[in-house]
Subunit: 138 residues, 6 copies
């Protein structure tokens, strides 16, 4: 793994990013994501953790559930499958119901097109099922 | 104005759409929008009023404020200026604060790109100022 | 399978949607698609069947072949692989020749970019081959 | 106006492009477009005239009306206003009725989103009105 | 102008961002942009100045001219007119020739579609003319 | 393999396209790509080889390395995975360092969104590793 010589973000922001990820996505997702970003590039992992999570996601006014639904909406609009999966998980992990995730995607259907809607729903449905299975185990 | 011979949606759904538009965007926006859609095409006005508003926006589980923020997020992601204006208005009209609109757009900046973010914010800022002016008058 | 409590579209529109799908895509595609939409969400299946098929696709003036080529063009422009497959199938099922499908995609190449063009053509080529194989069997 | 030293396309293809533009868009549109492309860059004018028009649009199998409707569909999907205007004009100039243009855009509404649909229709409606005015004069 | 209570980026990164903007776009563009971002939202101005300029644009390995051409390419692909204008300016300000800007856009034509290409070139052509006029004055 | 009856581009332009592909992507990539394009459609192979490669990529002013980085930027912006792979390969094959490819993608992160950035980097990382492996063998 190559070391970064460039990324220059404050250490406390980076630590805050890790803390936000724990609340937002829990384990093992938080660790897996940072590992994947680091595999892409060490600086990318630092930028996303410190700036995207430690600075933007850490802002007040909107809670993590609402932010997740908002990001899910954007992911449906941009037809980004991995992001649909991630933000569905984040929404459910922060108290959204399966019905709220479903409504978010249904609402988007008329703006992003019906195919974007039903394909997003197929992806979200899997994540919803995985969450239900984990909850039943507990 | 040509008459539509094709659109075949239930009359009560259409009436529900008009009612939802009143709650969602108030007057004169609701009437202006329907007039603009009708100018585009009479059937388009019927489809949007009856299906998009009377059926999709009328669904339970998510309130109109949350749906507006979700649609705002998608509009930022798709860089649709008219829609950014509309859903900012809808969010504020249903109790969202200017700060919540701002956070929604800031959150999107890292997903849709910084230029999409700051240009959306310039548009939303105008709508926020218009709302503040109206409230001060009242 | 959860039941929908929300979708409220006229029963005859839904039946018309099923009839349009039979003509447009034939079996087993029509049944498979509705099953996939239902798996995504029961209301999505109702909305697509009743509104998208039973209302929009059912409109006069343009025949199903022309509508399929038009939707294929949009699918190439939006780089939606599943939709390229579906509308190629629909075009061929309604009398389009392989050459007409090919021309539609070639025409799009200069608008959606060359890579969008040749990748769409690879997908369409498979559907064309499947149709030719079925016809040879018959 | 700077001269191009690079564009190297066959002269007959370029002449064919000019001929296709005459049939496709008529005058003064054909001349105006080439003037605008030349203003952008002399080589761009040569490439579009010779390759896009003289080679791609000149192909057999689909007539200019169908190609225009197909390109209109892609323009709606990509929300390119100038292209919506151009291909609506091309469709009408080659025998499409206003109703066929309208159906093409209505069909796209469920794939590109309702706002893309009604905004495209507002643009197309203007072009349709201009054509009707010209026909009434004649 | 409301004050930000949230943006928490290191002061030296912000100062570096201002310095990068001076080199990248010169005056008055650098000041105008920061003013426009601040008008959108004070935190947006801080994020773009400190993170986008002070951190990302400030990285080594690629010079500002190459980065500008790269960002121009992305702006053409995403059909963002303001960004085409900005990065054309940045490229020319850092030693790119008008021909290099032209080639970048011509190269993109086959990937983003011909209309995206020639419309981007019309925009870039204006910026090129403004630069030539300023140089002639000097 | 069906024969094309339509594509009408000059033979020397086609030969120049083959020569450009050899320099740009080397073997076996150049042959594999033309084979894939021909599989899509014989005319598509002729158009891409003669026009995209023999005419556009063959232009002077920008070298193949710079053009590859520019096309990589557009591919990241448009989230086209195959194109990210191809232009990373082309950049490296024409003297770009792994660091230059990395910087191109990092630069795009703030314009195309962070997820587009890190997913592009994962793809590019594989191509970089393959190049390093080949170089170690030699």
């Amino acid at each position: 793994m190559t070391e970064s010589h460039h990324a220059d973000l404050p250490a406390d922001q980076y630590q805050q990013g890790i803390a936000v990820m724990q609340r937002l996505w829990g384990e093992p997702m938080a660790t897996e994501l940072r590992s994947m970003w680091r595999q892409a590039d060490p600086d990318i992992e630092r930028y996303i953790t410190a700036f995207a999570l430690g600075e933007i996601w850490a802002r007040p006014t909107l809670d993590l559930k609402t932010r997740s639904l908002i990001c899910l909406a954007a992911a449906v609009a941009l037809e980004r499958e991995g992001q649909i999966r991630l933000h569905t998980h984040g929404a459910l992990h922060n108290g959204a119901t399966a019905a709220e995730v479903t409504e978010t995607i249904l609402q988007l259907m008329i703006y992003a097109g019906f195919p974007a809607g039903w394909q997003a729903m197929l992806v979200a449905r899997q994540v919803i099922a995985e969450h239900a299975a984990v909850e039943n185990e507990e």
